[in-house]
Amino acid sequence: MKPELLAPAGDLEKVKIALLYGADAVYIGGTKFSLRARASNFSLVSIKEAVDFAHSIQKKIYVTTNIVPHNSDLLDLDQYLLDLERCQVDAIICSSPYIIDRAKTLTHLNIHLSTQLSVTNSLLSNYWYNYGISRIVLARELSLEEIKTISHNTLSELEVFIHGGMCVSYSGKCTLSNYMSNRDANRGGCAHSCRWKYDLYHLDTKISEDFDFQMSSKDLETLAFIPTLMDLGISSLKIEGRMKSIHYIATVVSTYRMLIDDYDLRQIKPISFYENEIKKAENRLTSFGFMKGITTPLQQLYNMRSEEPTKEFVGIVLSYNQETKQAMIEQRNYFKPQDILEVLSPTQIPIQFQVGDLYSEDGLLLDAARHPLQIILFQSDLDLKPYDLIRKVF
């Protein structure tokens, strides 16, 4: 059986993009009880809309209720859990015993254990399974060998992070942000102090140069490990990044979707093919995290290096008229007539084309698509679909 591909989403558009581009399930945060406070803007109405959309295409929505609550955060929890059940969300992701126990008492919601609890062994995962938790999200500090042993010894479903940003500390164990900026890392306010620049001293001697001691890690990228994770029977493969763009989500999700399906059909391409697809989105530099064991300098992000995407996202298709062959797109970045563009589609591998004349919504000929969110029309022989993404080839 193929594992679930689980993607993040920070708003409804991203939910739809993630699901259309191949995710089996999406996790979102409500306005309360969720980490990533800045990325959590789903009201109950929009949660319900997300669930209805997902269920209409036989997919799932999970809601994060994963803060480590202080006393003042406990108000209104019961009603919120009942509301989530009424919205028919497929699971909640928790780290607090209080939230878990209230959900068990009041609802029939499936409960997944958040990586905030940093489960690193089968003894603890089996404890939580027997406590009524259907799925454990494993800590991101585990090697493939450790994941392998845990999966052999555990009873619960396991979820493994496969792509995206990583905490530098064990999750849930860090209060850098609390102490340095008063923002509570375990209640959704993390200021990412581990990504700031530091100087290192030994006694009175400065060892570093110009604040080049950085703890920041490269993003996780595990394309080469997916076949093994699938062979192990891992239930869910999770992509991180609720604050990422729709282009990032579409690119990363569709690439892992392709890889999972190809491996399932025993038609896997060279890993470099999938790596090149991922590189088309904006990424930090990537590495395989702890997959091969304790990290080395190769997994660290010194000098704040970042990777330029090999493709630039320039627009999203709103509609396509098959009779007139006219495409209507919403602009996201600058492009101009005669540029070589590429279509990223949920249903086929990327196809390149040269764009001709560009027109505004009311028919004015344009020398370029300059304005974000501007509606742009052009002729295309390709049969474009709503939610296809258009990107520029350099």
């Binding site: 406070a37 089968s122 003894l123 102490y179 570093s208 703890m215």
Partner: protein, 293 residues
């Protein structure tokens, strides 16, 4: 309320006992992270005997994350500790609570995860493990601490109330990786307490950093003191832990004495005040920037 102090050497037991330490917290060569004064199993045997002769108590510190490959050693270690007549085991990872059940040792466990015991319900949840106690998280307010402590459920409640508290625990060997990246040949840096960080925008603050075989730890720039809050806290707490790392023996001894004798607090502060703060006792953290304004 008992004073729990970290033991540095066998020779120190009598002195610490005499200045008012009730419980000796012992770091070992097994499952103790950032251990500056680790003891062997045979030494622990002797410490137990000596401490019991003084009618004091001994806790063993187990503050590493427990990975899958640690499970066999964990059970072996608990079996040995079970025969040692220790009074408590301070554990960071909930795995140890689960494992202790197999050894009928739940009654010795004090759950001290650093960050996760943050609300009044946690003691109710932990009560099902039939453990000895829990240590309240280090990033919450005095008001919340009192609220949690006054509503606990048959658990001993403790607090780490003094010294440099850690605020970060990574499995990554961050010093090793950095030195390797820079091509620096630095000697004897593992478990060294001589390194610290300065952040680009906070150049007056020094954050100690330590790496050992379990990972890397970063500490607050100021030591926490609880002298001013002791009167309020005392009725609620069973144990007050005093952290020792990065502290001179003299400062540690003076702090222990001042927690017994209020009249010594001002002279303690006259000597050491600028390096201390009140942590989160009066600082409510925010979920979103500006929330508390």
């Amino acid at each position: 309320m008992r004073i729990v102090a970290t033991l540095k050497s066998m020779d120190e037991i009598e002195h610490l006992g005499n200045i008012g330490v009730d419980v000796f917290l012992v770091q070992t060569n097994y499952f103790t992270a950032k251990a500056v004064y680790p003891f062997s199993l045979s030494e622990i045997d002797l410490i137990v005997k000596k401490v019991k002769q003084m009618q004091k108590s001994i806790y063993i510190l187990m503050n590493t994350m427990i990975h899958e490959t640690d499970l066999v050693e964990l059970h072996n270690y608990l079996s040995i500790l079970n025969k040692m007549n220790v009074d408590g085991i301070v554990c960071f990872d909930m795995t140890i609570l689960v494992a202790s059940k197999e050894h009928n040792m739940e009654h010795l466990m004090i759950y001290q995860p650093g960050t996760m015991n943050t609300n009044g319900y946690d003691s109710w949840f932990l009560h099902q493990f039939k453990i000895k106690g829990m240590t309240i998280s280090k990033e919450i307010t005095l008001e919340d601490i009192i609220d949690i402590s006054s509503n606990h459920h048959h658990l001993e409640i403790s607090l780490v109330g003094h010294g440099y508290l850690d605020m970060f625990y990574s499995r990554r060997p961050l010093l090793t990786n950095y030195f390797s990246f820079k091509g620096e040949k630095i000697q004897n840096y593992l478990s060294s307490t001589s390194f610290y960080l300065k952040e680009e925008m906070r150049k007056n603050e020094e954050y100690p950093i330590v790496e050992d075989r379990f990972g890397t730890y970063i500490f607050r720039s100021k030591k926490l003191s609880s002298f001013q809050e002791l009167g309020v806290l005392k009725p609620y707490l069973t144990d007050l832990f005093l952290e020792r790392i990065f502290m001179s023996d003299d400062e540690y001894y003076q702090a222990i004495k001042a927690y017994q004798n209020e009249s010594l607090v001002s002279s303690f502060f006259n000597t050491y005040n600028k390096l201390y703060d009140s942590g989160f006792y009066y600082r409510k953290t925010e979920k979103i920037k500006g929330e508390n304004e």
